[in-house]
């Protein structure tokens, strides 16, 4: 049963600490997205990659957030230093981008981050 796997599922940390969230996309998917979900803002796109290359990270606060894909099986989202306003659920999603008939996005179950 192919699925997007995210770790950790829950993270509580203190302001100023570094947080790293990890995502294993579905094997064979060449596009990976990071979204942040809050009650106020809904689902915000933070960054996305195609074939491991970053395409757009304009949704990320550049001074503290960074996203990488060290290899095709791992995407990471790092926050350093974390702030209380970063508290949210962070979703990773993957899909196949092949021409105009590109497929659906499959979401992981999310990483719930609480920054105290």
């Amino acid at each position: 049963d192919a699925r997007v796997t995210q770790t950790p599922r829950d993270k509580v940390t203190e302001m100023g600490q570094e947080v790293t969230m990890r995502c294993q996309p579905i094997l064979g998917h060449n596009t990976v997205f990071w979204y942040r979900q809050t009650m106020m803002q809904g689902l915000e796109l933070l960054a996305y990659f195609r074939n491991r290359a970053p395409l757009d990270d304009s949704g990320m606060p550049k001074d503290r957030f960074s996203a990488e894909m060290p290899d095709a099986t791992l995407a990471t989202l790092k926050i350093q230093p974390s702030e209380p306003r970063d508290s949210a659920v962070y979703f990773c999603a993957s899909g196949i981008w092949v021409g105009a008939n590109t497929g659906e996005l499959f979401f992981g179950e999310g990483s719930r981050l609480t920054v105290l």
Partner: protein
């Protein structure tokens, strides 16, 4: 111009009713309009999607109506059931603009028994 506006924010219907959720967009380059369903503690999952060359698409009890000239689309759930209680998101994507999926704000639907 990248926004997708969704309404209402929340919706309560009785079992068997037909909830309707509406979305509007500005970017005429959008060429793919999916709806995602999210249950508490889970990630969103694709429910149904439409491209702008058709005005309606039906899958089971779920129907998308699409009005290209008005730049609006909506989700109808026929014979709604308590198990349909979830948050629904509309979204839009442009192939020529990198393919990123832009989501509406979400509608929390509650179907009462």
């Amino acid at each position: 111009q990248q926004q997708v506006k969704q309404s209402p924010q929340s919706l309560i219907v009785q079992k068997g009713g037909i909830p309707i959720i509406n979305c509007a967009y500005e970017n005429t380059a959008f060429d793919y309009f999916p709806w995602y369903q999210q249950f508490p503690g889970k990630g969103p999952a694709l429910l149904i999607a439409i491209r702008p060359d058709v005005s309606e698409k039906k899958e089971g009890r779920f129907t998308i109506s699409f009005n290209k000239s008005a730049k609006q689309f909506s989700l109808h759930i026929m014979d709604s059931q308590p198990g349909d209680s979830a948050t629904y998101f509309c979204a839009a994507r442009s192939y020529n603009q990198g393919g990123k999926l832009i989501f509406g704000q979400g509608t929390e639907l509650s179907v009462k028994p």
